[in-house]
Amino acid sequence: MDGRTLKQREYEGLRPGHYACPGCGMAIAMRLVLKALGSPAVVVSIPGCNAIIGNTYPYSAFNVPAFHSAFEIAAPTAAGIARGLEIRGQGDIPVVAFAGDGGTFDIGLQSLSGAADRNENILYVCLDNEAYMNTGIQSSSATPPFAWTMTTPSGRTGRKKRIMEIILAHRIPYAATASIAFPEDLMRKVIRARNIKGMRFIYILTPCPTGWRTPEDATLRLSLLAVHCKVLPILEIVEGRIRLNMMPKNIPVSEYLKAQGRYRHLKEEEMEAIQREVDEDWNRLLKLTEESPKGQSLS
């Protein structure tokens, strides 16, 4: 960070009067990203909660110019704007794309891959609330195994895509994961990303009280649990080198699951299966970290 703490940074990029549900993790994430990004900047929103949070015509919750694009084109929209600004001699103005898990893992994956391949000069922020929440809680490929949604009423049978490995395969200059439970880390990453040219990707897990069936005041606690249960590893990938930023406390994943209504139906063996998968993923990540060139872990 630039020496200032969260509280010392007075600028707000997300204004009061946004349209998020009470306790929305995504609104917190967007506030932190825009606060760190500063002004001038351009925001690209796509259909999903992030655009709705921006409010409706003629209002705007964004303190910088924003554009509501189409569902599957967050990345190329941001890229087109960034290229236009570059042509106009304003290439130093950051362009950030906000997309949910549907817009990133599913419908926008192709155009995200294309933009990453072209190393477009954009900051892409994936705000993952683990289902199509804006349309009323339907399963996406980011919905975790066994989770209840309106389209997986007896629990999702698929597994969550490893989006960071997909991003890693594109060898972009910068990628990171972040949590709203660690705002200083999140903002440090946004500032670091802002100062890098080329494609940058930040993934943020954003708990959703409406869709996760959790109390409105549980969002930050769930975010913290996600990190310490190893559900969300906090890491950075710089030029292909993976670096873990935080050592989880290794809390059993059941603590995280039992706090959410969407897992209310879980049987003991399903909970054990999730724990096994979390452990497997963590060990796989450690191995990837060791194998990555000059990989550093747990620093």
Partner: protein, 382 residues
């Protein structure tokens, strides 16, 4: 001084002369040579703008829309499946009132898979709010690209410059390349502002209520109607500068014509020959070329067809369940006339099937001997 070139090359020259700043493109037959030519010029430093080699036509249009919002001049080109894939973005472009110009090379839509010319790909986009020019030959294609930028940037609607796959896109013709200085004078740098105003941050293209939606659509409709005058004026001015103009319609021998054939695109060139031959045989045939499809020149069509007894519309396109699309539009345009001509629809040349002079003469003979209308007549062979 004329150069021999294909229709695709002619469009590429139009793009280069228009000093396009960004081209986002994706390959598809038969449009690909436009993309290749522009890439070649870019690598040789002869193209002022940048090429963005995207991963789909959908992204090509998305990139063009986004870049255009910042106030830079953009171009893309596509055909068939690519235009169909763009469909969502075409509405997006006109709704955002961005002055994109797209070269469209007509090609049959799958299935069955085919590669030849067929206008259904662009006509299926008629309700997207794009201006559509159907060009007859290579020179007209080059000139229309330059005109289209001027029109689009004046009225804030995107334009399609449309040619027939292979017949126009790949056949060589002598084409006059206008001097750069004259084009620069005709088409000054893009007068559009950057729509992202950092001093007054707004949320563009945002969700609106039903009344605002209604009013935005109403505004688009009336603005598109007003663009007709701009399109005519730009074409006339182009004519004064470069010595070539095309009109939104072109009538041939309409003064004394008893029956009139209506064509668009490359078939028009063949129809000109057929009409001359028929007149030589003693038949008073006329020809009406429709160059501008959106906005549709309804009043102009009525004026030119006033007093005509029979009209035959040749459509290289088909709306399954209705008929040829130019014919539908023409019939709707003629409805207010006190005395309407007989209008017979002929479907020809789908999938790139050749439409030779003899086939058009067959159409004309059928029309002249006809005393009542019937459903579309399918004309595959003379």
């Amino acid at each position: 001084m004329k150069e021999l070139m294909t229709g695709n090359e002619a469009i590429a020259h139009g793009v280069r002369l228009s000093r396009v700043q960004l081209v986002a493109a994706y390959p598809i037959t038969p449009q690909t040579p436009i993309y290749e030519k522009l890439s070649q010029w870019e690598s040789e430093g002869k193209l002022g703008g940048v090429m963005v080699r995207v991963e789909s036509e959908h992204t090509a249009m998305a990139t063009c829309i986004a870049a255009s919002l910042t106030g830079v001049r953009v171009f893309t080109a596509s055909s068939s499946q690519g235009i169909a894939l763009m469909h969502e973005m075409l509405h997006f472009a006109s709704g955002n009132r961005v002055p994109i110009v797209m070269g469209c090379v007509n090609r049959a839509l799958a299935v069955p898979w085919a590669f030849g010319s067929d206008q259904t790909d662009t006509l299926a986009q008629r309700d997207t709010g794009w201006i559509q020019f159907y060009c007859e030959d290579n020179q007209e294609a080059l000139d229309t690209v330059i005109q289209a930028f001027r029109v689009s940037e004046t009225v804030c609607f995107p334009s399609m410059v449309i040619i027939d796959g292979f017949y126009t896109s790949h056949f060589m013709e002598p084409v006059e390349i206008p001097p750069q200085e004259a084009v620069d004078e005709f088409l000054p740098p893009l007068p559009m502002p950057n729509r992202f105003d950092f001093s007054v941050p707004a949320f563009l293209s945002n969700v609106v209520g039903p009344l605002d939606y209604f009013r935005f659509r109403q505004r688009s409709f009336s603005d598109m109607a007003h663009s007709m005058e701009v399109i005519k004026r730009v074409d006339e001015e182009f004519g004064r500068t470069f010595g070539r103009s095309y009109g939104v319609l072109e009538g041939v021998h309409l003064e004394d014509a008893e029956a009139v054939l209506i064509t668009s695109g490359a078939i028009t060139g063949t129809a000109r020959v057929a009409v001359e031959e028929l007149r030589g045989e003693g038949f008073r045939m006329g020809l009406l070329k429709i160059r501008l499809f959106r906005p549709f020149p309804a009043k102009e069509v009525c004026r030119l067809l006033e007093g005509k007894r029979k009209v035959g519309v040749i459509d290289r396109n088909i709306s399954i369940g209705q008929g040829g699309i130019f014919c539908q539009e023409l019939k709707a345009a003629l409805y207010p006339m006190a005395t309407r001509p007989l209008v017979q629809n002929y479907i020809a040349g789908l999938g790139g099937l050749d439409v030779p002079v003899e086939l058009i003469k067959e159409v004309a003979r059928d029309l002249m001997g006809r005393d009542r209308e019937e459903g579309p007549i399918w004309m595959a062979e003379p």
